[in-house]
Amino acid sequence: MDIWMLINDYTFQTVALGSALLGIISGVIGSFAVLRKQSLLGDGISHAALPGVVLAFLLTSSKSTEILLLGALGSGLIATWFILQIVRNSRIKFDSALALILSVFFGLGMVLLSYVQKIPNANQAGLNRFIFGQAATLLQRDLILMLICGTLLLGMVLLFWKELKLFTFDSDFAQSIGFSPYKLNLLLSFLIVIAIIISLQTVGVILMSAMLIAPAVAARQWTNKLSVMVILAAFFGATAGIAGTTLSSLIPKLPTGPCIVLIVSLLVTFSLLFAPGRGILYKALKRKHTRYLLTIEGGKSHAT
């Protein structure tokens, strides 16, 4: 397909805009999740959203995205609560509790999904789209929902910027000066959950965590300032969203969600290798240079 025709295509515009929005939101929220070392919580929540989607359909027989996402929100929150309770009340560590809940919920989701597919009139209801995502099903009203939630999330981040920064760096100190880590943890978890829920339709429950982690990890390589990192992560996320949508539109039968994730992974690889200061290549070159300087110095002192 010609690229100009593509840009003027209405479906492409909708999907590209939706993916860009998703990239911005998950880049910003993901930055805090990664710095707080909670990026895997996103993985747990997104996998756990699946049974909620299917249950919402079973209970209401509705195919509307809002209702299905409400179900996702419900089971995502229940899973988060389970994880936190297990960590608090047993000797099981966070990573094990997370893996446990993630697989139980995802397994339940798959069982429910295959049950739904056996119901004659269910017509699959397009529930499969929540596993790997299906950006092509994005409608204008989905975009509006994403826009509203996205503005809300970004507004919260701006409003609580100081508190989030303090809490992600040193939560004990935050508590000692009167900022309840309980409230701030709740705030951050809430932001992560909403970011995931509105992105599910595009990238799906399995690849969602990549969208939270990858833009933030790539951005961290290029800067030592939190504000710049968050803006860069949003930029990387948006770029991956648009580029991934374009790629999947140009080549037939290429799914959008995985394309976006592939592009963002390329950005991470590039950043890990080439970023000045923290990049692997930069560090190797600097080491070599230092060694060279040291040999010259050493040679001199031998000569004298």
Binding site: L35, E163, K165, L166, F169, D170, F173, S176, G178, K225
Partner: protein, 248 residues
């Protein structure tokens, strides 16, 4: 102990018990810290020194007991806190100035942004701890001593009356230790109460005027010249007394 009136104490702890799971770390601990003292908390590893500091800051739940700050003028006491520098990830994207400014956040409260005045105080304090050349340095590039001084500056800008410090001399060279001690003595001159978890028994008498020997309970507390003696040290370090002889 010294017959002081209640208001002359900065901190009053009664019957404090703290446990991790079913293992008590502090047991029925009583401690009164008079205002304006420079007090060292000493004791063996695992004696609960860090736990005591965290309990006083209400960072960990306690099984029983009460902690009061009778001298505090505000209902919520403003307490300066210097945690162990290993307690955070120093690869966080922030500069020294960013971190020191965080010390002002408590006075600002929720949602308010730091003002020019807050920046001025932070910069001045960074100079005071001798870090002016590192003000805009990324914190992952700091040495251990520079990390400690950054945390110290962050606590100083809190403008608190009481300070709790968890091993501020850890990983610090002799010169930095000297300058930190001078800062602590200056704080004491300003009437502040400074409580420091300390490990080096040889410097206790030189740096501090009061000492608390802690091992699950308070074995002894008082002026250094009164309670910092071999009997008490043997009681607090128990079997390690032979090792102490060379140190004291």
């Amino acid at each position: 102990m010294n017959p002081l009136k209640s208001a002359e104490y900065a901190v009053e702890i009664n019957d404090l018990t703290v446990a991790y799971d079913d293992k008590p770390v502090l047991w029925d601990l009583d401690l009164k810290i008079p205002k304006g003292k420079l007090l060292a908390i000493i004791g063996p590893n695992g004696a609960g020194k860090t736990t005591l500091i965290k309990a006083m800051l209400n960072l960990i739940p306690r099984v029983s007991g009460s902690i009061r700050f009778p001298g505090s003028t505000t209902p919520k006491p403003n307490i300066g806190y210097v945690p162990q520098s290993g307690s955070v990830d120093w690869d966080f994207p922030a500069t020294v100035l960013d971190v020191v400014l965080m010390g002002r956040y408590g006075l600002l409260g929720w949602l308010k942004r730091p003002s020019k005045e807050d920046y001025r105080i932070a910069k001045e304090t960074i100079k005071k701890v001798g870090m002016e050349n590192f003000m805009h340095r990324q914190i992952s590039q700091l040495s251990g001593g520079q990390q400690q001084r950054t945390f110290l500056a962050r606590a100083l800008v809190q403008e608190a009356d009481i300070y709790f410090m968890d091993e501020p001399f850890k990983g610090v060279d002799a010169q930095t230790e000297r300058s930190i001690v001078n800062l602590l003595k200056e704080m004491k001159r300003q009437g502040k109460t400074v409580v420091v978890v300390h490990h080096d028994l040889q410097t206790v008498a030189e740096y501090f005027d009061w000492v608390a020997l802690v091992n699950k309970r308070v074995i002894a507390v008082g002026p250094v010249y009164e309670v910092f003696n071999e009997n008490n040290l043997r009681a607090v370090y128990k079997s390690k007394s032979t090792l102490l002889k060379t140190k004291v």
